[in-house]
Symmetry: C2
Subunit: 177 residues, 2 copies
């Protein structure tokens, strides 16, 4: 099965959960939409039309309560422009530092599309810490830990939004065997 992504960090995390997974970096289009599921559903149709083999895409984002869900579906772009520093600046003076990471996997089995969503709640740290992972990992403190995603890769890979969406996909695949 193919994971259609150009992001090496995402592929690394997914291949820990699904042995034998192959990466396909196809550069499929992503739409601008309010929800990750809409983005993923659009992309998987393009990906399957090119591969004609079972495959999935995943779209993820960080949704900050005090910022009305920003950066949400545009987390990649915001990470490349404002980065963690810009996000921390926007959070200055905000009392509610609550946020969540969400991931949506859209899987095409050759006949139809199935989606699996994972969510990890937490807070935005007061300063960036840690060097593993990617994106906003250094500023995200998952519930139940005092370390950011970028400080504790092992914990991230156990509780993350991506892991939970991948667990949904693997449970679905196992039930079909």
């Amino acid at each position: 099965m193919y994971f259609v992504t150009g992001n090496k960090g995402k592929f690394k995390e997914a291949s820990l959960v699904i042995p034998g997974l192959k990466q396909a970096d196809l550069g499929v289009p992503e739409i601008q939409a309010d929800t990750l599921e809409e983005v993923a559903r659009f992309s998987i149709e393009h990906a399957y039309a090119r591969l004609h083999e079972p495959c999935f895409v995943e779209d993820a984002g960080l949704f900050v309560h005090a910022l009305k869900g920003f950066p949400g579906p545009y987390s990649k772009f915001v990470n490349h422009t404002l980065d963690c520093g810009g996000l921390l600046k926007l959070m200055q003076g905000e009392k509610d530092r609550g946020a969540y990471f969400e991931a949506c996997i859209a899987y095409h089995d050759g006949k139809k599309v199935h989606t699996f969503t994972g969510r990890c709640d937490g807070t935005i740290a007061l300063a960036g810490k840690g060097r593993t992972g990617f994106g906003f990992d250094p500023v995200f403190l998952p519930e139940g830990s005092k370390k950011t995603f970028a400080e504790d890769e092992g914990y991230k890979n156990t509780v993350s939004h991506r892991r939970r969406a991948l667990d949904g996909l693997t449970a679905f695949l196992n039930a079909r065997k």
Copy 2:
């Protein structure tokens, strides 16, 4: 000719330049891309496939130098989440307040797509001012004026990125008559 947009402010500005223009609010998809031209080219193909009549779409964004081009193609989403206040917060302490608005029109004449780009340079104001227009107009000071786009609608409609892109389209259409 149809202007395919759900934005009343954009349609109002365009109909001042192109008399008899009709609005079509089709909800065509927009892709996530680095340039407005890519976004507009993708959307016009969807729009023409539905209308089968000459039509154009326009995508616009505010590109702030100190923020590496943020919010750029995602200006609408950023406006709905962070709004002008968030942008001003990100600009605190930045010495370079330079920015530009850009608009790209993609026009389908029934045979092929033509694009027209307009740009308006300026700076990000220290505080929001004015009530006309939409989006980031209250915080954008165009070159040659001490008033924001939202304080001087007449000046905006003379020098704006959208006006310049529309001028490109109308010059093209007139040359074909």
